[in-house]
Amino acid sequence: MSEKITFTLNDVSTTVDVEPETLLIDVLREDLNLTGTKRGCDNSTCGTCTVVVNGKAIKSCNTPVSKVAGTEVITIEGLAKGMELHPIQKSISESGAVQCGFCTPGIIMELYGLLENNPDITLAEMQNALNKHLCRCTGYEPIRDGALMAQKLMQDRK
């Protein structure tokens, strides 16, 4: 039985009428047409479906939509303010971290969850977070560089 589930999505109150066990990724992609959140695997391993719920990065491919009722959900589409990129987007786009770009939204949302919460996280914390994401293109170094650039920008912003 479908039911109405309401949450804030990228600052906008949103109600969907779906089976409550539908996965968040499917609601985002199929019902709400937000295709920036990607699916790369079947078993919650690759991390590219990561979104931020109540300030915390989670995998949308293993989260039933019922779990986000009443929460604030942010997806990759919610980061830029008009033409202005979020510092993480800016840094990741300039550090060489983007090749094919398929892992990129998940990594940006992971960093968003971390750095918006605390821009002064340690390198070890950042590395633990990045270790949850698979990238087949870059060898990870440019992703780390982008993450560090973003951290600097966000520290300076405060």
Partner: protein, 775 residues
């Protein structure tokens, strides 16, 4: 050399759309009336299909059509036409399409697909070429030898050998008699998966006007177009193929893979687009795999280290269909000599049908598989000769004037491998080796490598360039952007060639065979070389058009005119000039009469004199070469056998760096990919041919913490073909890591490995057998 735009860092034009989530990949495409399909895969890797019962599936909610292979009479393929879009009478591998359900939603399609019942009669299963080649082995293709194939291929009817390629140079095997020292070895590079983070997917739409429109996560739209046109009997021009952003390729989205299957399914629901996207499991079991190459090698040398002869047999477990592996086998065979000259070669490559997914391109295309053997053998030979392994290699490098196995002579413009070796030696061996401690063994190893593209006679790349009214330029090509960064290359090369800032060059964002110029497929690390050449050709034509118009305006001869990007001016009096913006649509005279042509040009570029192999298996089959040397510094944990690559160094002679940031990223990605192959990655089968690890949590891709510190450097000896002296580098970095790591393992522990991956369990067991570990 110093250029204005080439050799500088520019950000990728597609980075913004990718960081904002707006880039459109295949699965992001929505079309009106689009249907979804789920594909049934068999329970056996080799079996006759006795019956398929689709009755209950047809009655399930949302189902529009249930499709089987019944009535499919066509085969397809570009090298050997042995492929079928859906199994007809038998299944040959565990991921083969057996039936499909088309429904309004994917969930409905999947639910109905589960209810299809199939009866099979199992047949013997072979996952290794050695078993499939045995006399009396069951035939995977009874029709072997009867399929259409390229005239250069030689299948052996009545066996599972789809092709035998033989190369003989000099005295061939007899050359071994000239050797004073002989070394033999057998090496295995097992099946792996390219494992792009974006899985394969396609949409195909048979339209009422008898045209076909398709979208695919592929790098070969023009091959898809021609294949579908042939299979469905429509003019090639009536098939339109789009390529959106592609989330990584690494080889396995080249050649036609899943498109024909989706087309077969969609052909049953004309008028409606049908979408299929692989699950990760299907990406492993039902698309192309890589490698599966066993190399049996014998090298003969003089006592002073001069190499004289090489004999090699490449046994390629090519999978259930040979169309895609056959060229990989050939590349593995003629490139197994590595970056060395052998006067005598006898090399044989067998492409063998096995009951596994078909092997296709994997970044490196045969080179890393057989050069794993060469580079291990060079270290082992140096040991046998009591020679320094650097000295042995340097003595035999394919330097200027040397001749490779194919018979191609090397020139200075092919690059300087000696210089690469010198730099790596200094960087990695110019310091003392880390001493063994309580917890770790330490080792370092290196490999010298070579790669050429595997082309085809018609493998050209087209370029359409038009100058706009404001002097900005639009460039349309058909190179698939899979992450490698070719759009930046285009901007920089076009900017340099046209003497305008790269910011004024707008590059196409998708490929559409209706508008894009022809390109064979974006493979073989050839885009920079050939595509760059095509850009320069187009730019030259465009400038010639501008000059022809300017000659009329300035009332002089074309050869007295110079072009600087903004103006065309008289060589002896630059004040006499006309602005480009005033002539790029032709020149409008005061009375409104327009003279001269539009500033737009079309071009294409192939590798010069690329040829088929001759009767000796030789020929101009490589043409373009990039050489390099790579080294690993590793640490092996005594307690667990776990291998840590602490630092990895790569030096390649790329002719000319186009974009320093991008080329470094490309090399680092390739290195990590092959560290994965060396230490973790292998497609595993059970005795029935079922893949037991078709998921990321079982098929382990290297993660952030497993990436070593990278040292990447480039030598720049200008190439003769590529733009501004640049040569290909997209794949080359994957070749050295496995042999370098295995050589480093020997250096650390004295254990020789002949196959990969070397997992902690394997390493630990080897150490225990050696009695080096005290428990």
């Amino acid at each position: 050399m110093e250029y204005k735009y080439v050799g500088k860092n520019y950000n990728r034009p597609d980075a913004i759309s990718k960081v904002t989530g707006k880039a459109i990949y295949l699965d992001d495409i929505r079309l009106p009336g689009m249907l979804h399909t789920a594909i049934l895969r068999p329970e056996y890797a080799h079996a006759k299909i006795l019956s398929i019962d689709t009755a209950s599936a047809e009655k399930m909610p949302g189902v529009v059509k249930v499709v089987t292979g019944k009535g499919c009479h066509y085969h397809y393929g570009d090298n050997i036409r042995d492929l079928v879009p859906m199994a007809v009478e038998k299944v040959r591998y565990i991921g083969e399409p057996v039936a499909a359900v088309v429904a309004d939603t994917l969930a409905h399609a999947e639910a109905a697909m589960q209810t299809i019942k199939v009866e099979y009669e199992p047949l013997p299963v072979y996952v290794d070429a050695r078993d499939a080649m045995k006399p009396g082995a069951a035939l995977i293709h009874e029709e072997n030898g009867q399929y259409w194939h390229l005239p250069t291929l030689t299948p052996t009817p009545g066996t599972n050998i789809a092709n035998t390629y033989r190369l003989v140079k000099g005295k061939g095997a007899d050359g071994m008699k000239d050797a004073e020292v002989i070394l033999e070895g057998e090496f295995l590079f097992p099946h792996g998966s390219c494992s792009a983070i974006e899985p394969h997917g396609s949409i195909v739409w048979f339209k009422e006007d008898k045209t076909i429109e398709a979208w695919s996560s592929s790098i070969c739209p023009f091959i898809i177009r021609e294949d579908l046109a042939t299979s469905y009997g429509v003019p090639v021009s009536d098939v339109r193929v789009h390529i959106p952003d592609v989330g990584g390729c690494f080889g396995y989205k080249s050649d036609i893979t899943v498109e024909q299957t989706v087309a077969w399914i969609a052909s049953f629901v004309p008028g409606r687009p049908v979408k299929w996207v692989a699950t990760r499991q299907e990406d492993y079991t039902s698309t192309l795999l890589g490698h599966g190459i066993r190399t049996i090698m014998k090298i003969g040398a003089k006592k002073d280290g001069k190499l004289v002869a090489i004999q090699a047999t490449i046994l390629h477990s090519g999978g259930a269909y040979a169309d895609t592996p056959v060229n990989v086998t050939m590349a593995a065979t003629h490139n197994c000599t590595g970056p060395y000259e052998f006067e005598h070669c006898d090399l044989t490559g067998y492409t063998v049908y096995t009951n596994t997914p078909a092997v296709g391109a994997f970044r490196g295309y045969g080179h890393q598989e057989s050069q794993l053997a060469t580079e291990r053998m060079m270290d082992m030979l140096a040991r046998k000769l009591k020679m320094d392994p650097w000295e042995l290699r340097e003595k035999n490098f394919l330097g200027e004037g040397k001749v490779n196995a194919l018979g191609e002579k090397m020139w200075k413009t092919h690059g300087d491998i000696y210089k690469c070796a010198e730099i790596v030696k200094k960087k990695v061996y110019g310091k003392a080796k880390h001493a063994e401690d309580e917890n770790f063994y330490y080792g370092r190893g290196f490999a010298a490598v070579m790669k050429s593209p595997k082309g085809a006679p018609f493998s050209t790349k087209g370029c359409y360039m038009k100058m706009n009214i404001d002097g900005s330029v639009s460039v349309v090509m058909a190179g698939a952007e899979v992450g490698q960064g070719l759009r930046t290359v285009i901007r920089q090369v076009a900017g340099e060639a046209l003497k305008i800032p790269p910011e004024k060059v707008r590059v196409y964002t998708e490929i559409d065979t209706q508008f894009s110029p022809y390109e064979w497929q974006t493979i073989g690390s050839m885009f920079t070389t050939q595509g760059g050449r095509a850009i320069i050709r187009a730019a030259d034509k465009l400038i010639a058009i501008l000059k022809a118009t300017a000659a009329q305006v300035l009332k002089t001869d074309v050869d007295y005119l110079e072009y600087d990007g903004e103006f065309i001016y008289l060589c002896n009096d630059p004040d006499i000039r006309v602005a480009i913006k005033d002539i790029n649509r032709g020149y409008i005279t005061d009375d409104g009469i327009t003279i001269g042509d539009m500033a737009q040009a079309v071009s294409d570029a192939r590798l010069p004199r690329y040829s088929n192999p001759d009767k000796n298996g030789q020929g101009s089959c490589g043409v373009s070469y990039t050489f390099g040397v790579q080294a690993a510094e590793i640490r092996i944990e005594k307690k667990t056998g776990k291998i840590f690559v602490d630092k990895f160094t790569s030096v390649f002679d790329v002719g000319q760096v186009i974009n320093p940031k991008q080329i470094r990223g490309s090399v680092m990605g390739g290195v990590l990919m092959s560290i994965g192959a060396a230490l973790y990655e292998k497609v595993d089968y059970d005795e029935n041919g079922k893949i037991t690890n078709p998921h990321f949590f079982k098929y382990h891709l290297p993660t952030y913490k497993e990436a070593p510190e990278m040292d990447v450097e480039f030598v720049e000896t200008p190439d003769a073909i590529g733009p501004f002296g640049a040569r290909g580098i997209g794949e080359h970095s994957v070749i050295g890591p496995a042999p370098a790591i295995l050589n480093a393992i020997y250096d650390a522990t004295g254990v020789d490995f002949f196959e990969i991956p070397v997992t902690p369990e394997i390493m630990k067991k080897a150490l225990e057998n050696q009695g080096q570990v005290t428990k």
